[in-house]
């Protein structure tokens, strides 16, 4: 068992969690994104008042990254948020919390450990494959290993699961869950499980919120050519070079939209989640300009949806495939977000 404990500089005395909560007390909450949904549910279960949007924003998880060297089914990874576990790790500092992350080289050990934690009454977060989870709709099952879900109990051979992207709780047979936890390939979960060990701050501090906003602006406006605004511009350049009449072009631009709209709520969705966070942040920090910026981000999110719609119509052949036009739409997004994040950075200073 490999244990990794994230422990930010512990200044305050840390209250150790006494897990008195029982299974029945666990509250499932439908969420837009698996990781922010899982961690906010897990924290609420421990008495921290935190919404999904706050978990997402407080960990500075909004992003854009074009990663041509990571392939999914032969296609490049295009992420609209920071990599897996970024949200959970990002919450450790503002909440002055420690989370335990455990991976396993032997699948049996991973199962034993999960059962042990459940017997102790803990709610446990898991990283898993999507493909091997039978409760996913058939057409949604792809070999994607970056999914997150919560296990809150066991009944016979079934695990009781709160998967935040589903409206209600689900069940999964132990053999299936085991397969999903130990799927191999890109982002292989290696049975990853996690749970909070201690949480010192049970409420979100305004200063932490402003710090998270500044950090997120830095990511989006940063110098790395494949990340943030520069990543969008690079992807636009790549799209512009595609031939108009080619099956590969169709597959490539369709894939961009699938990464944007389907895999874990995607581009526009994350912009809306972040807008929800900014509204909360405005109230918490007493800075109404953040609320106004939330409105601007909603407009930007609508632009991402228009980009998705235009692309889907071309993929479907309702409009003629025009890579130049799609590249222009994407560049518009880059320009709008560049101005937005500069304004946001100033508002959070």
């Amino acid at each position: 068992m490999n244990t990794e404990v994230i422990n930010p500089s512990v200044i305050n005395p840390v209250s150790v969690i006494e897990d008195v909560a029982t299974q029945s007390a666990f509250q499932h909450q439908h969420a837009a994104h698996c990781e922010s949904g899982v961690i906010s549910s897990l924290l609420r279960h421990q008495g921290v008042a935190i919404s999904e949007a706050m978990a997402f924003g407080l960990s500075a998880a909004l992003s854009f990254a074009y990663l041509p060297f990571i392939k999914m089914g032969g296609m490049p990874l295009i992420a609209y948020r920071m990599p897996p576990r970024f949200i959970i790790k990002g919450l450790a500092k503002p909440l002055n919390a420690t989370f335990a992350f455990e991976t396993f080289s032997k699948p049996e050990a991973g199962k034993e450990r999960l059962d042990e934690l459940l017997t102790q009454g803990k709610v446990v977060g898991l990283q898993s494959s999507v493909y091997w989870l039978p409760y996913f709709p058939e057409d949604m099952r792809f070999h994607f290993n970056g999914h997150n879900l919560l296990v809150y109990g066991r009944e016979g051979d079934d695990y009781l699961i709160s998967d935040p992207v589903f409206e209600t709780t689900v069940r999964c047979a132990s053999a299936d869950l085991q397969r999903a936890r130990f799927a191999k390939g890109a982002l292989a979960p290696k049975g990853m499980l996690y749970y909070p060990k201690s949480i010192a701050n049970r409420s979100v501090q305004p200063e932490a919120v402003l710090g998270a906003i500044r950090k997120n602006c830095k990511i989006m406006l940063g110098p790395i050519p494949i990340v943030g605004i520069r990543g969008m511009r690079m992807l636009a350049k790549k799209i512009r070079k595609l031939p108009a009449l080619s099956a590969e072009t169709n597959a490539f631009v369709g894939h961009i939209i699938r990464m944007q709209e389907e895999i874990g709520t995607g581009g526009a969705g994350f912009r809306f989640v972040y807008a929800a966070f900014l509204q909360e942040a405005a109230a918490l920090t007493n800075r109404p300009q953040l609320s106004q910026l939330a409105g601007e981000l909603i407009t930007i999110g609508d632009g991402w949806r228009a980009f998705a719609l235009a692309t889907a119509r071309m993929v479907k052949g309702r409009d003629q495939m025009n890579p130049g036009k799609l590249a222009d739409l994407l560049l518009d997004r880059a320009t709008a977000e560049a101005a937005f994040f500069v304004a946001l950075r100033d508002a959070a200073n």
Binding site: D139, E262, G295, A312
Partner: protein, 136 residues
């Protein structure tokens, strides 16, 4: 996006499930709304699913004709490609590609057969055979 603009047309790939989306209510606040799906998502998801199904059906036809191994069919049927199958089995990709050839597949050791069968989530007997009826 306003709560009234949250797509209601549905998305067959969600099999009746609903996604949580954030939209603005009449007071301008972002709230979570359950969304039965957006056609755009359905189009791009089905595009990906169709590509995988197409690969599986081509491989099935090839396997029936004897130019592809059953392994190639099962690989695509389980939505993998040589890269994912290599990572799932721990074999080198060039070995996986060689094993896709019917001649070499026929000579695979029982141990390698079970490695592939495990990675694909099927039995060795299944791996060595083809479905009676085309799944498409």
């Amino acid at each position: 996006m306003n709560v009234n603009e949250v797509p209601q047309e549905g998305n067959s790939t969600l099999s009746g499930g609903r996604k949580a989306v954030y939209a603005q209510n009449d007071n301008g606040e972002m709230v979570i709304v359950a969304c039965p799906g957006w056609e755009v998502e359905e189009i791009v998801t089905m595009q990906a699913v169709d590509t995988l199904k197409e690969q599986a059906s081509v491989a099935l036809a090839g396997a029936i004709a004897g130019v592809c191994s059953p392994l190639e069919y099962w690989m695509y049927e389980k939505r993998m490609d040589p890269g994912v199958l290599a990572q799932s089995t721990g074999l080198w990709q060039w070995r996986v590609r060689r094993h896709l050839q019917p001649m070499r597949f026929a000579k695979l050791s029982p141990k390698l057969l079970s490695v592939y069968a495990d990675a694909l989530g099927i039995s060795v007997a299944q791996l060595q055979s083809l479905p009676v009826k085309s799944p498409l």
